[in-house]
Amino acid sequence: MNINTTKIISLLFFIFSVFYLYTAYQIQVFAFDENAPFNAKTFPIYLGYAGLFFSGLKLILPDPETIKVEHRNLEYKKTAILIIIAIIYGATILKVGYFLTTSFFLFGSYYFLGERRWILMFLLSFPFVAAFMYLLHGVLEIYLRDPFLQLIGVMG
């Protein structure tokens, strides 16, 4: 089963290389560049074949070492929650603003990872983000878009 997973990854890479190679051949180059010794699609075509070659070899040749991954011991649920929180963070950061989304992202992540020390969780989210924002935006003058803080008049 475990050996197969490495083979399955190699097979997926092989399929990906086929798709990459097909897309590489579809790249539209300028007419005067079509017969040039090197154009925009030459290198990608080489890469597509290299991908096919190495993943093909990995598929055919026996695995020198079996990698055992005990799926029962892996925390898929918490990892998935963390990824979902990160996606929500990414989706809202521009609309809501840096301060609120980052603070809620940190607070939520601490919570889902099992933390329950509320005061520490609060200190390491809202005031921490405010201080970090001050360093970036106030001291280093790196622009941080924040419609929420602009709305309440904290940020110009």
Partner: protein, 498 residues
């Protein structure tokens, strides 16, 4: 020359300038530790401030910021596996495993001493070789650069042990494929963008490195949280913060530092090559030169594996000043910003600078060196405290790593798409890491991909499509022969062991 050095020293060692370099080192270290903000950004941020000072003081402040930012980048590489700048990626290969073994303080101390030694050696090379090396740097042509990129790829041998060669090669190809996304550098034709405007400029290095290193590391830690085989070793704070480098470790560093500084400096002199290629090459070379026992430790916390790239990237930073000062050609993004600052001060770098204004030339060199000395004095006592970042409970540390990674991308692009792309790459990388697919070859290939394609294209166009360019020039042939030797040697050693 001696007179020039003394003038440079007397300028750099005034009280005001020493204070400036201290301020610069402090802010540089903080900025460098933030993902996405490297030395180039740090220096660019300082330019408006420096215009209030005289040129020497302004340059000294920038020197402090520069070396501080490089050290800050190494710190985040070692402690969080989050290299914010390309030049410190190789530092994380052995620095991060050392930190995980409870030797964070020692790893930071080795990095600090290696950087300092690399800078010292390169300052010596700079003193004696700068004018003549500038001519050498101009003699490099596209075929030589292409051969150099191939030589750089031999560093993947370091990650292909125990029958992992094919996995490493698959990662190389994947890295090159990711690098090919976006506009073609010559014709501006878009490739693999699927009509998505966000991909037109390609995928940024910081995004890929944050996704495959910092973010995927954080996800892996959560994923393996209850895995009894991956249970974290509990270490005391004293052990974590100890900066003691024992005699045996020092012995290893004595051998590594001189050779890595030579390779770092020489690569740094070449315009466009820079600290990243230098650090990877030094890492690969070091692995080829050490004995079999030490070789096994590479990627798992080797002293040589940490010292080599740290020495080389700092030596390359100094080396990159050769073309900038002697020819007026900025070899890297950072030196381009420095060049702009110099021009702002009314200093015109170029062949005449060394002849007509040696005092300015030496003041710049000396202020860079003083910057390094002050950085070492300031940061060594702070290492025990910086290393304690790792003592922060995982429930807090992991979200903070994710936050720094996402912020690093956000401040660069202000784009949701980049955040989604980073999360996507991180998920794939986490899955691949579970099955022992190494990530460093992917990063190495991603860094070299664009340069490799560009130089291969120029070479083939110049030779009318013929591959003769590979052996037409002596320099190209020499580099390729070295590459072939390394590959054959590696194969021979593998067969001999089996």
């Amino acid at each position: 020359m001696i007179e020039g050095i003394l003038i440079g020293l007397s300028t750099a060692l005034t009280l005001q300038n020493i204070f400036m370099v201290m301020i610069g080192c402090f802010f540089g270290t903080i900025i460098g530790m933030l993902p996405g903000l490297g030395p180039m950004t740090a220096i660019a941020l300082m330019i408006p401030i420096t215009y209030g000072f005289d040129p020497a003081t302004g340059l000294i402040l920038m020197a402090g910021v520069y070396y501080g930012a490089v050290f800050g980048g190494s710190t985040s590489s070692i402690l969080l596996n989050a290299p914010g700048v390309p030049g410190t990626v190789a530092t994380s290969f052995d620095g991060y495993p050392m930190a995980q073994q409870g030797k964070a303080g020692k790893a930071l101390a080795i990095a600090a001493w290696s950087s300092f030694a690399g800078g010292t050696f390169s300052a010596i090379y700079l003193l004696f070789l700068a004018p003549s090396l500038s001519k050498v740097s101009l003699s490099f042509r596209s075929p030589d650069y292409f051969a150099l990129m191939i030589l750089g790829l031999t560093a993947i041998a370091a990650f292909s042990s125990k029958g992992q060669f094919l996995k490493a090669m698959m990662m190389v190809v994947l890295g090159l494929m990711l690098a090919s996304v976006g506009q073609d550098s010559l014709s501006d034709i878009t490739r693999f963008t699927f009509n998505n405007m966000n991909l037109t400029d390609g995928i940024s290095f910081v995004l890929v490195v944050m996704a495959t290193f910092a973010m995927s590391e954080a996800l892996t830690i959560i994923l393996k949280r209850n895995d009894p085989t991956a249970a974290a070793k509990q270490v005391s704070l004293t052990e974590l913060g100890s900066i003691k480098i024992n005699k045996e470790d020092r012995k290893k560093m004595y051998k590594t530092i001189p050779r890595s500084s030579v390779i770092g400096f020489l690569i740094g002199v070449l315009p466009g090559a820079g600290a990243t290629i230098a650090s990877f090459l030094a890492y690969g070379m070091e692995r080829n030169l050490v004995n079999d026992d030490e070789k096994q430790k590479f990627g798992k916390g080797s002293i040589n594996g940490l010292s080599a790239p740290e020495t080389a990237n700092n030596a390359a930073c100094s080396g990159s000043f050769v073309p900038m000062l002697t020819l007026g050609i900025p070899g890297s993004g950072t030196t381009a910003v420095m060049l702009g600052a110099l021009l702002g001060f009314g200093v015109q770098p170029g062949p005449r600078l060394y002849m007509t204004n040696p005092e300015i030339f030496w003041s710049i060199i000396m202020s860079m060196y003083i910057g390094m000395v002050i950085l070492l004095i300031l940061n060594l006592p702070l290492i025990p405290y910086i290393a304690r970042i790792l003592a922060v409970p995982k429930n807090y540390l992991i979200p903070l790593i994710l936050f720094f990674s996402i912020t690093g991308i956000y401040v660069m692009s202000f784009n949701n798409f980049d955040i989604y792309l980073m999360i996507g790459i991180a998920v794939v990388a986490t899955f691949l890491r579970l099955y022992d697919f190494p990530m460093p070859p992917l990063i190495l290939a991603f860094v070299l991909g664009g340069l490799m394609e560009e130089n291969l294209r120029r070479s083939l166009l110049l030779s009318n499509g013929s591959w003769e360019f590979l052996w037409a020039r002596t320099l190209t042939l020499c580099i390729l022969l070295i590459t072939a030797f390394i590959v054959i040697w590696h194969i021979y050693k593998t067969f001999k062991k089996n």
